[in-house]
Subunit: 433 residues, 2 copies
């Protein structure tokens, strides 16, 4: 087996792209020793080089025209680290059509344009790799599709968004309120200036769609995933949850139920003894149940320049090894069938336990009325906490944990309860793990 | 890319072998769908078939002569699930010499005879795979050598033995003593009748040697790993540790210190907030620090028929995919260089924090004397607990946590302290994470 040099082009020299450039330089000897291959970074293309300061580009062609990479027949692997949908999608499609393998860290791109990209990859007999798109440096894609290849994936429960996990951890451990924790996350760089995509659950839903695609070997219609963010979770809820033995985390859930997939992202009460409850700050974790392996968890950094570069380069090494074995011929993994689509279980048919938090007027008969409405919908209560201490507006918080109930029944019950004049508007319904 | 059938022979139809046979039958469609390959189990060889009851062997050749597999030129991959050193080693060497890839779950074999096996594999240009040898169903070998391929591994901290973790968990959570927890583990099948290899730390040291080989790409002299078992850990120590904010776990440790490797297995105090402290019962976990990825953890079942089968079949699929790409040509991964050996850091040069538990006579001046001896050896104390309540023999327990100190200094101090006539023999020295 002869040594072989793999030629790489990077589109995007932002934080992630710069991380890959640095890694390929710093670890060149290690990568050569471990894979018996050498990796030549031939070209880097971007229009903004502010994040690449301090990088020695000697021997690397740089420029602003993507044709430098896309039109170079020598380049085997294109790394897309531009982010966002366009122009990333156009460039990736072009690279695939020119029979270049592509590695991307772009979760929005894979989640939203996946079908089109996988189709393009397969019709050209090349591969699209995306380890860095979920769980940052955690080798979760590899773990699922190779490590657990012999398992039907019964369920995946993921803490996939570092920003929301940081905020919820600070609310829980430091007694901060939501706004304070968010500001702190922004100061420390764990949250964007506009945090909507993170705190609204959108980012986690992109990653969930990708994991569900791997588990099912099919594509997922992102718009049909039920997504709730953490904006409604108050410090009071975090405290109530703790007193009941739970920790609140934003969970991305993929469950296989009789051949259909239950996919959701929402804040979830997790028992304190569960390993997922111990995943704190900006860390990510993915808890997986396989039919042979049983329960497993992968934990690690969900973002950051260096972890993301670690994941991208593991994809590069995998592709390169395959190129070598295949004597330079292209090939394609076909893990996800772009013509198949996951069949989703409607949310209304999902069964959950619930955490309900109301503010009610402090008057007689109110608990009876709420409990009665739940009972009318076949929902039975497992515990109730009503505090004596008054809040603003003469309203007192009332927290109810229910036993298992159908979403549909809960929706009905809440419609009735919300209409009662003794209930304040800002009620919260969470689900239990 | 044409469909291809990979032919497999299994040596050993015990618990693990039977698990692999069942998995290959149960998941045939899934494996075909995911890898575009089919897997034909051609032959199974054993002399004892008691564990294989209920398996349908139609279409599979069975027998007691390993030549049925070793001499069959059609067989691409040999799965060794015999266990133990011999005859497993002889058969594996024979299979490799006939240019068959080998998959094994046998940690003792890989840890003790690894050098010879890897040499044989490489000189024949074939591969020896052993995902199931460490961490059962957890894809830790794949995670380290492929997922973290771009990282120098700074450290690995592993809970690698389910038996000892079960015993220590029951002592901690149920207040059982060591003997009671061991009996219960034996009743539930988490401990062997002769538990020496598990509770003495030997099993964990085999797995540590394998992980250290992957991290270093070199072989490890197993006999030079410092190993302490959990036999000396009393319920009292578990309780003291908890009151000081720690949980005791049997940890397998691999640390890179200035180019040398610090390899040890011993009971270790882990801070209660650390994720490893939440790994309970018979579960395994491996905490890894890579220079790019940062801190990661892999968690899951460390043993069992089905998880082990899951890991073995992932190796089979990897080898098969490579066979396909390589058009049937053999190849070899060369992850571990059999001619390189890890350079070990002597234990005497390791720095640790320590937990010391003495039983001392309840007389004046004793604490001063012990503290003085520690000070004479430049060891400073971080906390002391001495309980009033008397134990049998007029001895009272005294627990000391120290700051960082050299192993060599601690050995010196303990030599002096052990000689004091007010110290009972059964002292315990543990190390902190």
């Amino acid at each position: 087996m002869l040594n072989h040099t793999v030629k790489i082009g990077i589109l995007g020299a932002g934080t992630v792209g710069s991380g890959v450039i640095r890694l390929l330089r710093d670890q060149a000897d290690l990568l050569m020793q471990r894979s018996a291959l050498s990796y030549q970074l031939k070209s880097v293309v971007d229009v903004n080089w502010s994040k690449a300061q301090g990088i020695d580009f000697e021997g690397i062609t740089t420029g602003s025209d993507p044709a430098l990479i896309l039109d170079d027949p020598e380049i085997d692997i294109v790394v897309e680290t531009i982010g966002g949908l366009e122009p990333a999608a156009t460039f990736v499609l072009a690279a695939l059509s020119r029979r270049k393998h592509v590695v991307t860290a772009n979760k929005a791109l894979v989640a939203i344009r996946g079908r089109e990209l996988f189709r393009q990859a397969q019709s050209n007999g090349v591969d699209l790799m995306f380890e860095a798109s979920v769980g940052g440096g955690i080798p979760i894609i590899k773990g699922l599709r190779e490590g657990l290849v012999a398992n039907r994936i019964a369920s995946i429960f993921g803490i996939l968004n570092g920003t929301t996990n940081y905020i919820l951890t600070r609310m829980s451990l430091d007694g901060m309120d939501f706004d304070g924790a968010l500001s702190q996350a922004q100061r420390l760089g764990f949250a964007e200036k506009d945090p909507t995509l993170d705190i609204g659950g959108g980012d986690a839903s992109h990653k969930l769609a990708i994991l569900a695609s791997i588990a099912s070997s099919a594509t997922v219609d992102l718009s049909r995933i039920h997504v709730e963010g953490i904006m409604g979770v108050a410090k009071l809820d975090v405290d109530f949850a703790r007193s009941l033995g739970y920790v609140i985390k934003l969970l991305a859930i993929c469950r296989q139920v009789e051949g259909k997939y239950d996919l959701r992202v929402h804040p979830t009460l997790i028992p304190q003894q569960h390993l997922l409850a111990a995943v704190n700050d900006e860390q990510n974790a993915i808890f997986v149940r396989g039919d042979f392996v049983g329960d497993m968890m992968f934990y690690g950094p969900g973002a950051g320049e260096r972890p993301t570069a670690s994941a991208i380069v593991s994809d590069i090494v995998d592709l390169s090894r395959d190129l070598l074995l295949n004597e330079g011929e292209r090939f394609c993994r076909r893990t996800i069938d772009p013509e198949a689509e996951v069949s989703l279980l409607p949310l209304s048919e999902v069964v959950n336990r619930y955490y309900l938090r109301f503010y009610t007027l402090d008057a007689p008969g109110i608990l009876a009325k709420i409990a009665g409405t739940l009972a009318d919908n076949s929902i039975s209560i497992s515990s109730v906490v009503q505090l004596e201490k008054h809040e603003r507006d003469n309203y007192v918080p009332l927290v109810i944990l229910t036993h298992q109930a159908l979403e549909k029944s809960m929706e009905n019950a809440l419609k009735t309860i919300r209409a009662y004049d003794f209930i304040r508007e800002d009620m919260l319904r969470l689900r239990l793990f």
